[in-house]
């Protein structure tokens, strides 16, 4: 990315480095959200519906973990994935996979905590009916997840927002390598530290535009879904 060009010029000329950075940002954050959903939604449903010992403690813990500081997570994952660390033989440090791992750790508690709340609310609403219809545990989970789909989508968006915005974790575990692990946020951090503030601001505007676009897409999908609430 040429430092003399403004962000607008880079967009209009289709600068490959800029588009690579945007692509990587989306790939990392969306993958993290997908993984977090796969782990977090069933876990949240489980906590919502099953009465086990220590349940209250788990709920408090989940809500607390929503506020995990990204730099701390980044440092922990870095030490774990370092060649000198326990998972070093995987050779994952300074790769996009490491970034996905770090962001998944950050986003999963958000999705689990919010999913738990949404599903628990719906459980209160449907408990009688589902019990009277003799629906088993698996059926209840599936039904409640489907019934709470609109809330869950908002939950996923919250997770995506968190992932797309953070820089502390991915810059540590990714190394901000040019052309390989550089994302929008890490590029902004770099250009800022180089004193290239206009470019940094421009990239920031691009990032915000992308996040708005994702939210708008989901809003459209939601509206179409609602009108067909079948």
């Amino acid at each position: 990315m040429h430092s003399d060009a403004s962000a607008l010029e880079l967009i209009l000329t289709g600068d490959p480095a800029l588009y690579a950075i945007v692509r990587l940002s989306l790939l990392v954050s969306l993958s993290a959200v997908a993984l977090s959903a796969i782990i977090g939604i069933p876990f949240g449903a489980f906590v919502a519906l099953v009465r086990f010992r220590g349940r209250e403690g788990v709920i408090v813990l989940l809500n607390t973990l929503m506020g995990l500081p990204p730099v701390v997570v980044g440092l922990a994952v870095y030490l774990a994935l370092s060649r000198s660390g326990p998972l070093g033989s995987l050779g994952l440090l300074f790769t996009p996979t490491a970034m996905v791992i770090a962001q998944t750790i950050l986003v999963t508690p958000i999705i689990a905590a919010l999913a738990r709340q949404a599903i628990e609310d719906l459980w209160h609403e449907y408990r009688d009916e589902l019990t009277a219809m003799n629906v088993g545990p698996a059926g209840r989970v599936a039904t409640l997840i489907w019934e709470s789909r609109f809330s869950l989508v908002v939950t996923l968006l919250a997770g995506f927002g968190r992932a797309a915005a953070e820089v502390g974790a991915i810059i540590i575990v990714g190394g901000n390598i040019n052309g390989y692990t550089r994302t929008m946020t890490t590029a902004i951090a770099l250009e800022t530290s180089k004193g290239n503030l206009p470019l940094a601001l421009g990239l920031g505007a691009v990032l915000i535009a992308i996040v708005i676009a994702v939210n708008a897409l989901v809003w459209v999908a939601r509206r179409t879904g609602e009108s067909f609430a079948c």
Binding site: E129, A132, A229
Partner: protein, 240 residues
């Protein structure tokens, strides 16, 4: 697959149900047999809802036993319940019915036909595709009824099904209940409305403060109540 034996008679043996320190049902002993509808009446807090839920199997007794056709802990395979404020799933009316059919393990091949029949039975044909939550109160009650009937129950419980409905909607529900009862399904329901009890009941059960005060065939109950509470209730006085 589907339990062949009937859940009737439903027998309460000295059943007490407590909620915290409050006694909801107090040493209830009675038996519900097949036949014409049994209607529970009584003031608020008398235990009507608790009784129905216990008879359905949603509540476990704190003391005493409930048996269905002689069996304890019989799963509600051929029982169904219409709640006072039914919860509609966030899907269409026919989506709700299909869900109930699937939950009752009715083979999918029969779903299409059954959905049509049930909608017609409760007078909702044409509204199949509408989102269930957008139906009126009366329509939702009828859909809840259809959902319950989708289970092909032997016993149908209804908790004050017309409490929040206007006279037209009330009549519609009562007509359906009459049809259902006539088809051989045992109806067990509660109501605030003595007139409704008269219109629908084969026998009437009066509850007061968690106890069964009197039980008699409808005509006998209304013309010659034996207990003081029953007399007061029939006379329209307040029972507190």
């Amino acid at each position: 697959m589907r339990a062949p034996a009937s859940d009737l008679p439903i027998r309460f043996d000295a059943v007490t149900v407590r909620s915290g320190a409050v006694v909801m049902l107090d040493r209830m002993t009675l038996q519900i047999e097949a036949g014409a509808p049994t209607v529970l009446i009584g003031p608020n807090g008398s235990g009507k809802t608790t009784f129905l839920r216990t008879a359905m199997g949603l509540i476990a007794p704190s003391e005493g036993r409930v048996t269905w056709g002689g069996a304890e802990n019989a799963p509600p395979l051929r029982r169904a319940f219409v709640f006072q404020r039914p919860a509609m799933l966030r899907r269409s009316a026919q989506g709700n019915l299909r869900y109930a059919l699937a939950a009752a393990q009715i083979p999918r091949a029969r779903h299409e036909n059954r959905v049509g029949e049930l909608l017609a039975l409760v007078g909702l044909d044409g509204l199949g595709r509408r989102p269930a939550r957008r139906l009126s109160g009366g329509e939702q009650q009828r859909l809840a009824l259809a959902r319950a009937l989708a289970r092909d129950p032997a016993v149908l419980f209804l908790d004050e099904p017309t409490a929040s409905l206007d006279p037209a909607a009330t009549k519609a529900i009562e007509d359906i209940i009459r049809t259902v009862a006539a088809s051989g399904i045992k109806v067990v329901m509660s109501t605030h409305d003595l007139g409704e009890a008269r219109r629908l009941a084969g026998d009437i059960v009066l509850l007061h403060r968690g106890r069964m005060v009197e039980r008699a065939p409808t005509a006998a109950f209304l013309t010659a109540p034996r207990t003081a509470e029953a007399r007061a209730f029939v006379a329209g006085e307040l029972l507190v």
